[in-house]
């Protein structure tokens, strides 16, 4: 069934109606924007309030932890003191080890018949040693051992032979200046 639609309204009214529809849409959009902005503002404020609560909670946790650490400060100090003393002791104890090693090495290398008359081992681990012996073979053995890397533990870098003499008593006297590695 066909319908017949006839618009009998004047053109002015139609124009005004169109205009009103546009204004209405503008008002609705404006309200929409306003509502959106207000909701967004409210949401950010709510977010900040929640965040403030998280901040307070984190602060409380840190403060609580700090109190617990402070309650164990004696233990903390002890641990620190132990570490500090150990570090110092480690620095001190190795200081003269090489000197002792050099002394022990020289005493081990000396043939039994050889006598030490003077010995000086200084802070830089340089050794000057004066020796007596009646045997040239002992002297030879000593020089050989001092120069042998398998026997000198790689501690000796230079042996300076100084002042050999022989007295009426048939005793050889000589001095060695030994530089260490």
């Amino acid at each position: 069934m066909n319908k017949l639609a006839v618009n009998l309204l004047p053109t002015d009214l139609l124009e005004e109606k169109k205009q009103n529809l546009k204004f209405d849409l503008l008002r609705k959009v404006s309200f929409g924007v306003l509502v959106f902005v207000v909701i967004l503002g409210g949401a950010t404020v709510a977010l900040r309030l929640t965040q403030q609560s998280a901040l307070n909670s984190a602060n409380d946790r840190v403060s609580n932890d700090q109190n617990q650490v402070l309650a164990m400060s004696d233990k903390d100090s002890q641990a620190w003191l132990i570490k500090d003393r150990l570090t110092s002791i480690e620095g001190i104890l190795g200081g003269d080890q090489k000197r002792k090693q050099i002394y022990s090495l020289i005493m081990n290398l000396l043939p039994p018949g050889m006598q030490v008359t003077d010995l000086s081992l200084d802070k830089s681990n340089n050794l000057i040693i004066s020796l007596n012996t009646t045997s040239l073979a002992d002297m030879d053995a000593l020089f050989h051992d001092l120069a042998d890397q398998s026997k000198n533990q790689n501690l000796i870098s230079l042996v300076d032979f100084d002042g050999l003499s022989m007295g009426k008593d048939n005793v050889y006297r000589f001095t060695l200046k030994i530089k260490t590695n």
């Binding site: 204004f23 503008l26 008002r27 959009v29 404006s30 309200f31 924007v33 306003l34 902005v37 967004l40 503002g41 950010t44 404020v45 977010l47 900040r48 965040q51 998280a54 901040l55 984190a58 602060n59 946790r61 840190v62 932890d65 650490v69 402070l70 164990m72 400060s73 233990k75 903390d76 002890q78 641990a79 620190w80 003191l81 132990i82 570490k83 500090d84 003393r85 150990l86 110092s88 002791i89 480690e90 620095g91 001190i92 104890l93 200081g95 003269d96 000197r99 002792k100 002394y103 022990s104 005493m107 006598q115 030490v116 008359t117 003077d118 010995l119 000086s120 081992l121 200084d122 802070k123």
Partner: protein, 229 residues
């Protein structure tokens, strides 16, 4: 007046959008943007606080896992090895004991001025003794197990007819306790493998010297109970 009224009516449709625009800009400029900026700032603060809390909780766990009794023993050993004061008499007595153990005869033992070497303090004990190189070797070996932190600075030996003389300048170390307060935020000082090995070595050193004093009850004649009798 009619002109103004007419103009207002003509543009009345713009009033609401303008008011909305002003309010929106105000809300965005005065509320949303500052809140968002401070949100980021606060988020950083919370993150920093959480990190701090994690560090502190780790420290609490570390401190809880430490054995107080063992630490006291360790500290006692370490304070024997590296005391807080020069403790000259104790060191002299101990070294003399070590010399007699090594069959060296003490000729002279004096101590020089105090020195500061880095964090540590020390003083020189000049030791002169009578003995032979093997005994000196034994003494040096015994020094490795000495209860105090000492180092032999030089070794001199002289055998000139009238007897063999040994001269040893020995540095004896000590360390005062620093007054600096420990920062609660710094992690617990932990011992590494090297520290543990050294600590074990120190335990195996000879026990600290204890000077025993003996008290005897001396009976003294008190005379008569009544002196006027």
């Amino acid at each position: 007046m009619d002109q103004i009224k007419f103009t207002f009516q003509q543009y009345s449709f713009l009033v609401i959008p303008i008011v909305v625009l002003v309010v929106s800009v105000s809300v965005v400029g005065l509320v949303i943007v500052p809140q968002l900026l401070s949100y980021l700032d606060t988020q950083k603060k919370i993150s920093a606080l959480n990190d701090r809390s994690t560090r502190l909780e780790t420290k609490i766990n570390d401190l809880n896992s430490l054995d107080s009794d063992q630490m006291s023993k360790d500290l006692q050993i370490l304070l024997n090895v590296l005391p807080t004061s020069p403790a000259v008499p104790e060191t002299v007595v101990s070294i003399q004991g070590l010399m007699s153990q090594s069959a060296l005869i003490t000729k002279n033992l004096n101590f020089g001025q105090l020195k500061q070497t880095g964090d540590n303090s020390s003083y020189v004990l000049n030791l002169t003794a009578l003995g032979q190189p093997p005994q000196l070797g034994l003494f040096l070996s015994n020094l490795d197990n000495f209860q105090r932190a000492v180092t032999v600075e030089a070794i001199r030996f002289s055998n000139q007819g009238d007897g063999a003389e040994i001269t040893l300048p020995i540095d004896a170390y000590y360390k005062t306790v620093s007054a600096s307060k420990i920062n609660p935020e710094q992690p617990v000082a932990k011992l590494n493998e090297k520290d543990k090995t050294v600590l074990q070595q120190l335990y195996s050193r000879s026990a600290p010297l204890v000077i025993n004093t003996t008290s005897e009850n001396v009976s003294v004649p008190l005379g008569k109970a009544d002196p006027f009798q």
